[in-house]
Subunit: 314 residues, 2 copies
Amino acid sequence: MLYIGIDLGGTGIKAGVVDEQGNILIKDSCPTGSERGYEAVIHDMANLALDIVQKGGYSMADVKAIGIGLPGVMDQRTGRVPFCTNLSWHDVPLVEEMAKYTDVPVFADNDATVAGLAESVAGVSAGCKSSVFVTLGTGVGGGVIIDGKVFTGSHGVATEIGHMVTVDNGLQCTCGKRGCWERYASATALVNEGRMLCALKPASTLMQQVNGNIRKINAKHVIDLAKEGDPECARIFDGYIHHLVVGLSNLINVYDPEIIVLGGGVSHAGAFLLNAVRARLPKYVFFKDLPYARVELAKLTNDAGIIGAAMLGR
Amino acid sequence: MLYIGIDLGGTGIKAGVVDEQGNILIKDSCPTGSERGYEAVIHDMANLALDIVQKGGYSMADVKAIGIGLPGVMDQRTGRVPFCTNLSWHDVPLVEEMAKYTDVPVFADNDATVAGLAESVAGVSAGCKSSVFVTLGTGVGGGVIIDGKVFTGSHGVATEIGHMVTVDNGLQCTCGKRGCWERYASATALVNEGRMLCALKPASTLMQQVNGNIRKINAKHVIDLAKEGDPECARIFDGYIHHLVVGLSNLINVYDPEIIVLGGGVSHAGAFLLNAVRARLPKYVFFKDLPYARVELAKLTNDAGIIGAAMLGR
């Protein structure tokens, strides 16, 4: 059987035909154009899906399911999307709308969940019964696999790991709370710390790196300078690793997965990130003598969204 | 079929014969006497189990399994107890030792897990597929049920929810980390805050309550005075509720259970506790518009250990 995976993002829609093993057979993309409203976006998703099936010489009769990964929340009971901030979606009847264009069953889930599922089928956590995928991007997202299945909880609001409070009364979060993990462990946290450094020390190497324009600072600037031994960026990176590892140890305390997979922008720091996490984690783990999750970097990068979405229907 | 449930505590061993529905048919107890070493304690557990079966007129042939709840960690893969601080146990071969006295299969788990299982079979969370039981006692323990089964994670180190960090760089915890939830949400936290109050304000009502002996302060003193409107204890209780609810909202973010059950000493505060938690939780929940776990008080009190342990073998 074949599956269609759709990676719905704020700027583009990517879709692919995927086989049972998670291999992409054909893929294509189009712009999202979310300003046109959800009906037009969903229509384009359906068209893109039907298109690639035809282009690849397949038949919709061979397609068992369509899966969609989206940068928001999916209510599995209703088939509706309660929130999707990047697309300005609010209470969108995604499954119902897709059904206008195809009879194939439609599944959808959060993009971090989908990326975690992709890794567990065809990536670094393949073969593991339980895994936690952590996206370190603009925010911090989570995709949790328990007993080989996507874990979504009872009301579909589980795995909002980025909004776990690790710093009581800490930085204000967009969610209304204070001290959520993602305020400290996201790429955004590195950017904010970098900007703070430049504001306080205009002569810093980081400031030179961005030609005095602190708006240009991204996480990679900070990480690369830390890697090169710049003491100020190294200090920022060290603080980042502390907060990251506090949250990872919390995840071990609650989920105790076989593996934790780090994905998202910050994970492109590669071994520099991984080694720092692995060096510090043992001190933060509750049972010092017992085995616990190994930490790895995500393997599938750009295609994870398509593969994982496709696997939702498997 | 019948099950034997054994509640192994620091001071006493309680055992009961339990039916399929979680009803205790007969029970008995004896002192633990852990200073005699694990062999003697386990021998007594086995004797107590065989005794009640005989006294109740049952036969061991009708007993499907023996379950044990203990105040420590159980390694399900090895059948050994790596740690059990209250009993001074370290790497005890519990299952192997029990097998010297009976051929019936033996299961064991942490006491909070066992109490959560009891509630989910015969208590307030009966009928729920997923629940999180939180014991608010000397520490904070957790018993997590997912899809009707005890959730223990991949290495048996999951559900150490009390050692989730909620206050980065906060109070030193016995586990070596700082700012673990149980340092703020346990009965011990209320006691410590009460003692601090009395040290700073010797004229406080709390100090009068314990006749000037701050060692006598327990959580109930603080809670009762808060209930009566004593402003200082009310402030302590309010701070306690804040920390409790921060952790509960983290549990909702990661587990998204149908129900959260509050047990342990602090839960005896009853409606006073429950109403305070329910009033504050909505502000701390990530998705303000979506349904989430309801919070309830534990129903089974003293018998939860026996019932839950018995149900381990079901």
